[in-house]
Amino acid sequence: MSPLLRVLQDEVQIVALSFLGIVYVLKLLWIFRFPHRTERTFAAGSARAGVQSSLMNVLMPWQMESTRSDPVFYVQFALFHAGVLAAIALSFIVPYAPGLLVGHGVRPVMLATLIAALMIGLGRLARRIRRPGLRLISTPDDYLSLVLTIVFFATAALLLAAPADWGEGPAIAFFALTALFLVYVPFSKVCHYLYYPFTRIFLGHTLGHRGVVARRARVDAEGI
């Protein structure tokens, strides 16, 4: 292994990951600086159940009309995010647990997931460019984030699929891109997963507390 690849897949990743972690912590502290509304009403339902339901919403495509009526979009969503997970996992497996890629079918499953995610990513890019509504709301960050993710999938797939005689090129490309990605992510829309718990918890809390979901039977009998 060349010194470049060794540093790229270890020290550089750790520095980039630390940077991402620090920015995330700062962002979380920043969000918590904003005031949070105190709820002063009697509950008609369970806020906790509402939060649980809201957070699990991502696993229940039948809950939302948008995913219920377009299951293909939901499957694409699931595979795309599985690809992200696979690529991230790869950035840890290769330097720290390369043995996992030998046998057990891990490599082909990861490769298939990454290729599927890559195709879906390209489809999403085309969709974003083709649809006037999406084009209008898309910012340069939307395109850049998507393109970076697509390239991330491509380099990850290449790293898994490339024959040994290709040398270290695919690995260097993958780890260089991963480091770049880690630095860019906190400032891009890719970090939407940082906000996901917040939006879902706030929405679920309201819906649960009000009994839109998880309504208490007692409420109908006695009033609130």
Binding site: I31, F34, T67, P140, L144, G211, V212
Partner: protein
């Protein structure tokens, strides 16, 4: 259905100028609400873009920041918005686009990336009052804040809350449609959104009582005012005093048959709340507090809210938070009260007295932002012989198209009626002859849809059908 000829020029809507005639008149009259700084008027000499930025910083809260940050521009919201569905070729109708008109300003003023590299996320401050006026037309004119898109957003982004946030800031700058200003003025000045004076209020109640006594032949039937220690205080929509006293009469008749002890308050009777629509939490808190304090003063055991979507949401849910007033009394919709009467056998109803096919329209503010979906259906199945659902329904129902105060903004009416095509198609598919809702606002919104699209339907409220099905005791 009406043909394509009704298509509205959206550029014209987005460039509608700010009308300030009513504001100038109010300032000229030195209205107390203007003098106190409760009702804000437009001042072109001020640095309004700068004030906008200050207000954004001051009014943001945690859930708004999350919603402003979390949108990934996936575009799924377009599939759930009746504006976007009715105008699929118009990208400016996509909910994310509307929210983005606020978001881009937020990003430039507060956001991290937007302040560092504005071009990357289309972050942009409002540069002039013209920009703010355009924002006014977007947030007041192209969204009914129905929250349907939120229910269908994988991230749970509250576009309607973002729209309301912008409305509230614009209200603080006096950059609002004239109708919004006028209704806010009336509610600040008179405590009710139709400017009904106490004398008119009390005279109408007397008149309803006399009519009811004559109609039923029962001289003991009453609409009590300011009676202490009743089981509940009844709050109503000013429309019931001004335009539709029938619903007040229906309520009095039903309460009498149920042997209820109830009262109307002399002050604090308006359960509607324009603060919800204008985004002005101070107005919202003022109006809601009037009702809560009236109930406390009258030592009522409960607050009951007549049929009104935004009134229910405001009085039952948002008002306590706006007013900073901890809920002390049970607060319920009159439909829940009626449900209790029927369940306990306090009134008897005969569904055969309402034989026509009936469908039910869920008010957005009650089904999506409140908590009542099963209750009105429970009642309707007992007072109508042919109840049929519209699809979608419940918390997925489409807006009546008149929500979020749009009925008071005449300049946006043509667009509202054009996009009402989605609602009209939904209604027509039911084959119902009677369209029932539990919201005065929806009554007007739906009547517009029925008339514009020439649907053969009569629009009524739950109480109308209950009153029609009542069986008088022997």
């Amino acid at each position: 259905m009406r043909p394509e000829e009704d298509r509205v020029d959206i550029d014209r809507i987005l460039s509608l100028p700010l009308e300030t005639g009513s504001q100038e008149k109010a300032a000229g009259q030195s209205l107390p609400s203007v003098g106190r700084g409760d009702l804000m008027t437009y001042d072109a000499a001020q640095n309004n873009p700068g004030r906008f930025a200050d207000l954004v910083r001051r009014k943001l809260n945690r859930s708004l920041v999350a919603s402003l940050e979390a949108c990934v521009h996936c575009g799924l919201c377009a599939d759930s918005c009746h504006y976007a569905l009715a105008r699929p070729d118009d990208p400016r109708m996509v909910p994310a686009y509307k929210a983005d008109q606020v978001r881009r300003m937020y990003k430039r003023i507060v956001g991290w990336t937007g302040r560092l590299v504005p071009g990357l996320v289309h972050a942009k401050r409002p540069a002039s009052d013209e920009d703010l006026n355009r924002l006014k037309n977007v947030v007041f004119g192209t969204c009914s804040a129905c929250r349907r898109c939120t229910m269908n957003c994988p991230m749970g982004v509250e576009n309607a809350a973002i729209v309301r946030f912008a409305r509230g800031i614009l209200a603080d700058l006096g950059i609002v449609p004239e109708g919004v200003f006028n209704v806010s003025r009336d509610q600040w000045e008179s405590g009710n959104q139709m400017g009904v004076s106490e004398q008119d209020y009390l005279e109408t109640i007397d008149w309803v009582k006399e009519e009811l006594q004559a109609e039923t032949g029962d001289p003991s039937i009453d609409l009590p005012v300011d009676v202490e220690g009743c089981d509940f205080m009844y709050t109503i929509n000013p429309r019931e005093v001004k335009f539709d006293p029938r619903s007040l009469a229906n309520a009095a008749k039903i309460f009498k048959l149920a042997g209820e002890s109830w009262t109307l308050p002399r002050w604090g009777w308006d359960q509607t709340n324009f603060g919800l629509f204008s985004g002005d939490d101070r107005l919202g808190g003022f109006v809601a507090r009037n009702a809560y304090e009236a109930a406390e003063r009258l030592k009522a055991k409960r607050i009951v809210i007549s049929e009104c979507g935004h009134g229910y949401r405001s009085t039952r849910w948002e008002g306590y938070n706006w007013a900073g007033y901890d809920q002390k009394l049970p607060t319920e919709s009159v439909v829940v009260t009626i449900q209790r009467y029927i369940r306990e056998g306090r009134i008897t109803v005969d569904p055969s007295r309402n034989p026509d096919p009936v469908t039910f329209h869920d008010s957005c503010n009650i089904a999506r932002s409140g908590d009542l979906i099963a209750q009105p259906r429970w009642v309707l199945r007992r007072v109508c012989s042919d109840f049929r659902e519209m699809h979608p329904n419940g918390r997925e129902n489409y807006c009546c198209t008149g929500g979020s105060g749009l009925l008071s903004m005449a300049e946006y009416r043509p667009l509202r009626l054009e996009v009402a095509r989605i609602k009209a198609e939904q209604l027509k598919a039911t084959g119902a002859k009677v369209l029932c809702t539990m919201c005065h606002n929806c009554i007007d919104g739906l009547n517009d849809v029925v008339k514009h699209y020439r649907l053969d339907m009569k629009v009524v409220q739950v109480m109308d059908l209950v009153a029609g099905a009542l069986v008088a005791p022997e």
